[in-house]
Structure formats: structure tokens, C-alpha cells
């Protein structure tokens, strides 16, 4: 039975050895001639049709069977048996593009039944350990490795590969290549390696001061891209330098030995590009044009602040809003990792700066174009309030979609915006990559020193939540115990015993964890503003 997923005419090199690094590269290769189908050009045309016409076309993948009886995990150098790449008889939806499998191996089931959204962990950032599962693994190094610890031999020399070569995919020639023992294991590159058991392999990363940017060139069609960084990130963020040139990204879940659901550039739902990529893993990335992917180690993060004290009689003036916001802005400016983009006060602070373009706003050019946004002004359970009639006074919760450009954290020095009875339902839809919102469950308060004190604590390495409740403990004036500060944070894993985004630090001052867009769960916490009478 013919396998419609198999390309033809593709040249593949396969090595059959016990340890792929004890033989000179390419000494026992056989050239495998594949049936000839210009699949990449075909897929580009499909993409073009989809993009131009905007038509979602149901996949027509043809039969899922195979015409060879390969034993999973064993290299099969026989003609026509090495590589499986999707082909089809008709138009294919972008999210249904199926990347190549390693030579001599086929999926355990139909590609239509793919791995989950949260694959098996490939890297433990606490110990810098790469984790291999029995079978094929598609792995990468999250950062540059130290000299002497950066070759395939140094890293995988102790792995029983059951006679399989370690492989990489050449996107330029669309060829698989066996890796030699002295080949460098480089960031942004992905390696297929077979493990005849489970392994935990320590990676010796270069110290921070020696880490530099990593670059890889991606070609039209399929490429394998290693994830960069020791912390997970949305596909959208990881692949941001590629702009619109990337179409899909597909991970491989070594735990279930199958591909994950593809992430589609601009996609939604299970194909959303706001789903997570994880360190230690590599991904098939389908490109519609050539592009360099450049990731730098040292990054600068941006923040902004807006405040309203003068409501022109529509509301009571809010004392100290300016000093609180400016104190925050000026203090964080002292960080070498953070750059202030703008601070607007009174009439210059506008609702449109916080409203998503889908609702007529321009937040993608303002607050959502920064990583951290701080607001001081009046608020209520439905949102927060501005003082100018230039546009809408009220930023309602259902007009906010934060993080679909850049924003990770929002801090609202506004009364009742995170009210316990309403905030989870109200604000959940605003999380489009956002990690958390800090604010008040009840009436809050302003103080000239609260902003700089909050920023100072952030830069001391306190978590955002810790810094916020410490600042409000200190500066919200003595009360009858009814005033409470609050945080609404994305929860990623559904595990009640892990804090996830509740324990985020700002970048450069501790760990944080990137949530997907539309996180499935949330954690909400309140803390009484201390010091009662």
C-alpha cells in the first residue's frame, strides 16, 4: 500500500551503527532514492491559495497507511523507506501540514491524532538537564554550551541509540544528515536522536557573560528550529523575528512519540501561535520565504505608565496619582534591563491606549507594545476610568486583549478592578499572552511613595505579587481590615500546588513563566492591606 505522506525523490543518508559518533561521518551511508514530488513548491502554492482566498480547506490527506513494514525505531536504509513527508492529492489547511519523520520511522497512528498541547518535559531548568525518552527525541540546547561540552560526542556519547544515527535536517537541500561525534550542538538547531531508554543529560551552559546571540538561516519549506532560552515562551514570541515568513510550527512529543498539534502563525484555538514552546525541544517550522532567525541573550524590556488625577469634574480628583506613577516610572528607569517607553498623565492618558484594535483601540502601539504597564486612576469592577473626552472615558474589561502584542504584566492602582466576585469572569478574556494583573479587590489607595517603593521591590528580586502586596501593605492607609489587594494570574498546568505566574518576577530579576494565550486556568489571590486600627 502506498503511503501518501511519503515524498518521492528525496535523497537521504542513513547510517547504521551502534553509536553514531564512533564512526566517521558518512562512511557507511547508502543513498536512498525517494519518489519524486516537488512537495515544498506545492505547499507554498497551497499556502498562497489559503492566504489570498482566505478559504479554510479541509484536509485531504489520503490514506494513512504505509507501503513498507518498517520496525519503529530501526533505521531502514532500503530504497524508498527512509523519510515520510506529507503529500496529498488536494488542498491542505495550514494547520494540517505534517512535517517529516526521522528516516525509517513512522507515526504510531494517524497524524490526524496528534500529541497534546503540553508535551513531555525535555529540559529541567533547575538542573540544566536535557531529558530523553525512549524512542525518538527532537531536542535542542537552550543556550550556548561551554567549550568542551558542546559536541555531539560530549553530550550524547553515553546514549544507547540502538544503532540509530543522530540526525539533523538540512532545510536548504531538504535532506537528512547524520551528525558526527565532533559536530557542535548549537542553539537554534534541532537534533533527532533515538534513545533506547530514558536519559537525563546535564548540559554545561556557558556563563551568562559569555552567552551571545544565536542565528540560523531558515529556508522556504520545512526547517528544524531549536528553542532558545531556558524558559518556555509562546511560539509567537519565539518566532517573532521571522515575521509572517513562518506558517506553522510543530513540536514532537517524545513522551507519546508523535507530533503535537501544530501552531499556526496567527492561528487560534488549539492551533494558536500563543501556545507554548519549551526549552530543550526543537520544532519543525514551515517557512513561506527565507529568513534569518536571530535570538539575542541580552534583551531590553520595556514598560510604561499612565495616570489620571484630574477628571475635569466627571469624578473627584485623585490625589497623588501623578507622584505614584512617576515614582514607579522613574525608579524602574534605573534598571539596565528595562526601558521606559512613555508616561502619560491626565488628558494624555487615554482609554484607546489600553483598548485592543479589535474594539477600536490602539493598544498594540501603546501599552501592549511594552512588557509591563502601570496605571493609577479611578476604577470599578467593570474596568478603569480616564479623564479626557478625546475618546471613551471607560476602559471596560471586555475591550481589553492584552499580551497579543507584548504585554506580560499589568498593574492597576485602581479601586475594585480585581473584585473577588467579578474579576475572574470579567478579565479572563483579556489574557492573550498576559501573565497577571495586580490591583485591588476593594477600595485601594494612592500614595506618593507607593510607586517607587513597588518598583524598588521588583528590582530587589521580589515577585510581582510580593512587591505589590508589600507596597500596598505599606502605603494603603490604616483601615478596618476590609481593604484588600489582589492578583489574577494565569495558571498553566492546572496543578494547584504550583504557583505558575503567581510567582513571576520581572525580567532580569528572577524567574517567570510564560503562559499560553487564553490560559486554561487562573489563580486569584487576595491579601489584606495590613495595619488595622
Amino acid at each position: 500500500m502506498k503511503n501518501p505522506l511519503r515524498p518521492e525523490g528525496m535523497r537521504v543518508w542513513v547510517i547504521r551503527v551502534n553509536n553514531p559518533f564512533f564512526v566517521p561521518p558518512f562512511t557507511e551511508r547508502k543513498e536512498v532514492k525517494m519518489r519524486n514530488t516537488d512537495i515544498s513548491g506545492y505547499l507554498v502554492r497551497v499556502l498562497f491559495v489559503l492566504l489570498v482566498a482566505g478559504i479554510a480547506v479541509a484536509p485531504v490527506l489520503g490514506e494513512q497507511g504505509t507501503d513498507e513494514e518498517s520496525d519503529p525505531g530501526v533505521a531502514a536504509p532500503d530504497e524508498g523507506s527512509a523519510v515520510i513527508v506529507m503529500t496529498s492529492a488536494g488542498p491542505v489547511a495550514v494547520e494540517d501540514l505534517v512535517p517529516p519523520y526521522p528516516p525509517g520511522w513512522e507515526p504510531p497512528r494517524s497524524p490526524a491524532v496528534q500529541g497534546g498541547l503540553y508535551p513531555a518535559t525535555a529540559f529541567d531548568p533547575a538542573s540544566n538537564t536535557l531529558i530523553l525518552y525512549p524512542g525518538w527525541n527532537l531536542v535542542s540546547t537552550p543556550l550556548w554550551l561551554a567549550d568542551g561540552h558542546d559536541t555531539m560526542m560530549a553530550i550524547f556519547g553515553g546514549v544507547d541509540t540502538a544503532a540509530h544515527s543522530a540526525l539533523r535536517y538540512n532545510g536548504s537541500s531538504s535532506h537528512w544528515e547524520a551528525m558526527g561525534p565532533l559536530d557542535e550542538f548549537r542553539p537554534l538547531e534541532g537534533v533527532w536522536i533515538y534513545a533506547n531508554g530514558s536519559y537525563r543529560i546535564p548540559l554545561y551552559l556557558k556563563p551568562a557573560q559569555e552567552q551571545t546571540a544565536a542565528t540560523t538561516h531558515l529556508y522556504s519549506g520545512w526547517n528544524v528550529v531549536g528553542f532558545w532560552d531556558v524558559h518556555q515562551a509562546c511560539a509567537r514570541d519565539m518566532l517573532l523575528p521571522l515575521g509572517s515568513a513562518w506558517a506553522t510550527a510543530t513540536g514532537y512529543d517524545a513522551g507519546v512519540q508523535d507530533y503535537e498539534v501544530s501552531m499556526v502563525n496567527g492561528g487560534t484555538g488549539s492551533s494558536s501561535d500563543q501556545r507554548l514552546m519549551f526549552p530543550g525541544k526543537a520544532y519543525w517550522v514551515y517557512m513561506t520565504a527565507e529568513e534569518d532567525l536571530i535570538r539575542s541573550y541580552y534583551r531590553s524590556y520595556s514598560y510604561c505608565a499612565e495616570w489620571v488625577g484630574d477628571y475635569h469634574g466627571t469624578q473627584a480628583p485623585l490625589a497623588w496619582a501623578d507622584e505614584e506613577a512617576e515614582g514607579f516610572y522613574d525608579t524602574l528607569a534605573g534598571s539596565s534591563s528595562w526601558t521606559g517607553r512613555f508616561i502619560n498623565g491626565n488628558d494624555a492618558a487615554m482609554e484607546r491606549h489600553w483598548k485592543d484594535p479589535a474594539f477600536g483601540g490602539v493598544d498594540s502601539n501603546y501599552i501592549d507594545n511594552t512588557h509591563l504597564a502601570f496605571f493609577v486612576g479611578h476604577g470599578g469592577t467593570d474596568g478603569f476610568v480616564f479623564g479626557t473626552a478625546a475618546d471613551d472615558y471607560n476602559l471596560d474589561y471586555d475591550e481589553a486583549r492584552w499580551g497579543n502584542t507584548k504585554t506580560d504584566w499589568i498593574v492597576l492602582g485602581s479601586c475594585n478592578t480585581l473584585n473577588a466576585s467579578t474579576c475572574r469572569e470579567n478579565w479572563e478574556d483579556a489574557f492573550e499572552g498576559l501573565h497577571s494583573i495586580c490591583g485591588f479587590d476593594t477600595i485601594g489607595g494612592t500614595h506618593p511613595d507607593m510607586g517607587w517603593y513597588f518598583a524598588d521591590l521588583l528590582m530587589e528580586g521580589k515577585t510581582i505579587w510580593e512587591a505589590w502586596y508589600m507596597a500596598t501593605d505599606m502605603y494603603v492607609f490604616p483601615n478596618d481590615g476590609s481593604l484588600r489587594t489582589a492578583i489574577l494570574a494565569a495558571d498553566i498546568d492546572g496543578d494547584l500546588s504550583t504557583p505558575d505566574c503567581l510567582d513571576d518576577h520581572i525580567y532580569g530579576y528572577g524567574s517567570s513563566i510564560n503562559p499560553p494565550g487564553d490560559p486554561p486556568n487562573f489563580q486569584y489571590k487576595t491579601d489584606s492591606c495590613k495595619l488595622e486600627v
Binding site: G380, D392, D480, F522, E532, V533
Partner: protein
């Protein structure tokens, strides 16, 4: 002729530019008319109240009360070590902080920090206080009364209960986990914060006190202290409680209830008001703390407010 044409053209250009600039002013967006979608609370939630009733008899206070002069608090390294030792901590002391300098002692699982300038200190069981430890589920929290005993016992046995501190009440921190897919929400965390307030001349000092946060199994998760040292200055004439209520009509009330219609005073007590650290406050002035219930259009709740009681020293809290 040419000059006249230029002048006319220039005038027309000016009119065009001015007219364009005025468009937003003369044509406000529809949203302006629709303002009011969010129920807004005032600064600090202070809102005017038109009717004030009494739910309790007003207390009697002397016509005079002592005004205290604040004393600067500076913490040395030795001071910090002594306090850390009271907590039973023996770890290395480190100086940290940026604008706020503080001494830090870490002795797993606790961290002790004290600010050098203000003396503000916190002692925290870090991993527990993040709020996701299963030990701190709401079912594991002792009753408020038990928490009070635990807190008093902890402070007393460690020599940390300040002279003049008096129990003032409890509050709770809470944590919830919600699943946005099925809309379910469960409470995963609860703590009980037991507050002890400083007293001067037998009156509590709002903003000066110590608290103990008790978690699951009665474990102490956090201790915080913000204390304003002061010495007697001199006696001043103070407002009567009745006069303070009249002032309340001017100051408004602090409440979570929007558009309050009627306030019922349940408690009036004389206290002192201590500002946050770093606020210049030369004196601690007698102040009335007024507390009660408030009725809004569709809901009821509580209110409170502080009313300075020494007319001679002005209407500011500090």
C-alpha cells in the same frame, strides 16, 4: 495684489488648521454621552454622605488629650541581629536594597528583613506565603480565636510583643483556582492575619502595629511590624465625638459601596494616626476613628473614616 492673495490664502490655511484642531472639541465622541458604564469610587473611596444616623451611643472622652512627638527610628546591624535572634535565626546577615536599605537574614524556610531607616520588618516563610502550599488549604486553618492565641503565644515567647501592643482584630488572605473552560472555582488557600495595634495613653495608634499571619496547621507564615516610636509632647483640647460626626459630613466616608445614601455610625473611638514610613510626621495627633454601616442604592456595606481631633493643629491627619 499678490501680497493680498498670499494674505487671503494664509488666512484660509489658518482657518483650515484651526477648524481641524477644533473638531474633537465641538464634536465629542458618542462615548462621552454614554459615560457612566463603570461605577466609580472616589479617591481612597471617600464619598460624600448626605445622611448620618447613630446606631450606638457616642462615647465620652476628656476634653483634652496628649499629642505625641515622633522619634526617629534607625536600625543598626546589631539591632537587626538582635531581632533576628529573637526569631531564632542564626543565618548570615546581609545588607541589601536599593533606595530602601535593609538587613536580611535567611534561615530556611524563613527570611527576615528589616529596613534600616524605618524599622519596618517582615519575617516570612517564603514558600508557604506564595499561596499554593496544600497545607494552607482553607480546611487546615485554625479558627480565628485559635489563631489569635497562636499569634500571641508566638510573639510573647519570642520576646517580640512590643510594649503597648493590643489585639485589634483579624483579617484573611485567600486564594482561588479557577478553570476557565468549565467555569469552576475552588478555594485553595486561606490565612489568618492577627493584628496587634500600638497604644498611646490607652488609645490605639492606627498605622503602628505588629501582625502575625497564621497558615494551615497553625504555622506562622509571616510576622510584620511597622511601629512609630513617640514621646509625650503636650496636652491639647480635642473635639467631642459629636463634633467629629459633624466633621464626617464634610470629609465623607471610605466605603466600597457606590453612591452611599445613608451611614449609620456603629463605633466612634479616639486613636492616633501614624503615617507610613518616610512621610514627615512630627506629631501623632489624637484622631477619631469612625466606623459603621452604609446603605447604597442596591447594597449595604461598611464604612470608616479618620477625623483629626485637635483643631489647633489643623485638619490634616499628619
Amino acid at each position: 495684489m499678490v501680497g493680498k492673495q498670499i494674505a487671503i490664502g494664509f488666512t484660509l490655511l489658518l482657518l483650515l488648521v484651526a477648524g481641524t484642531a477644533l473638531i474633537p472639541a465641538v464634536s465629542p465622541p458618542d462615548d462621552e454621552v454614554g459615560h457612566g458604564g463603570i461605577e466609580v469610587l472616589g479617591p481612597y473611596g471617600v464619598q460624600n454622605i448626605s445622611e448620618i444616623a447613630f446606631g450606638t451611643a457616642l462615647p465620652k472622652y476628656p476634653g483634652q488629650a496628649m499629642v505625641y512627638k515622633t522619634v526617629d527610628t534607625a536600625v543598626s546591624k546589631d539591632d537587626a541581629l538582635k531581632v533576628a535572634e529573637k526569631f531564632g535565626m542564626s543565618g548570615q546577615i546581609e545588607e541589601s536594597g536599593r533606595r530602601i536599605k535593609r538587613y536580611v537574614v535567611k534561615d530556611d524556610p524563613y527570611t527576615f528583613e528589616i529596613e534600616t531607616e524605618s524599622g519596618y520588618m517582615i519575617y516570612t516563610w517564603n514558600d508557604r506565603y506564595s499561596g499554593v502550599d496544600p497545607r494552607d488549604g482553607p480546611e487546615n486553618i485554625p479558627t480565628d480565636e485559635e489563631c489569635r492565641k497562636i499569634a500571641e503565644s508566638f510573639l510573647t515567647s519570642h520576646g517580640l510583643m512590643p510594649e503597648g501592643a493590643a489585639y485589634s482584630g483579624v483579617s484573611h488572605g485567600e486564594g482561588f483556582f479557577s478553570n476557565s473552560t468549565d467555569g469552576t472555582s475552588i478555594q485553595t488557600y486561606k490565612d489568618t492575619c492577627v493584628h496587634f495595634t500600638d497604644t498611646l495613653s490607652g488609645y490605639p495608634v492606627a498605622g503602628s502595629g505588629i501582625y502575625v499571619t497564621v497558615g494551615g496547621g497553625g504555622d506562622v507564615l509571616k510576622v510584620g511590624k511597622r511601629w512609630r516610636d513617640a514621646e509625650p509632647y503636650k496636652d491639647f483640647a480635642i473635639l467631642s465625638p459629636e463634633a467629629a460626626i459633624e466633621e464626617l459630613k464634610q470629609t465623607g466616608v471610605v466605603t466600597t459601596i457606590g453612591s452611599p445614601k445613608k451611614a449609620v455610625v456603629e463605633e466612634v473611638k479616639l486613636c492616633y494616626y501614624a503615617s507610613p514610613p518616610r512621610d514627615e510626621q512630627p506629631y501623632l495627633k489624637p484622631t477619631y476613628y469612625i466606623h459603621g454601616t452604609v446603605e447604597g442604592e442596591n447594597e449595604t456595606g461598611t464604612f470608616f473614616q479618620y477625623v483629626p481631633a485637635v483643631p489647633e493643629l489643623g485638619k490634616g491627619l499628619y
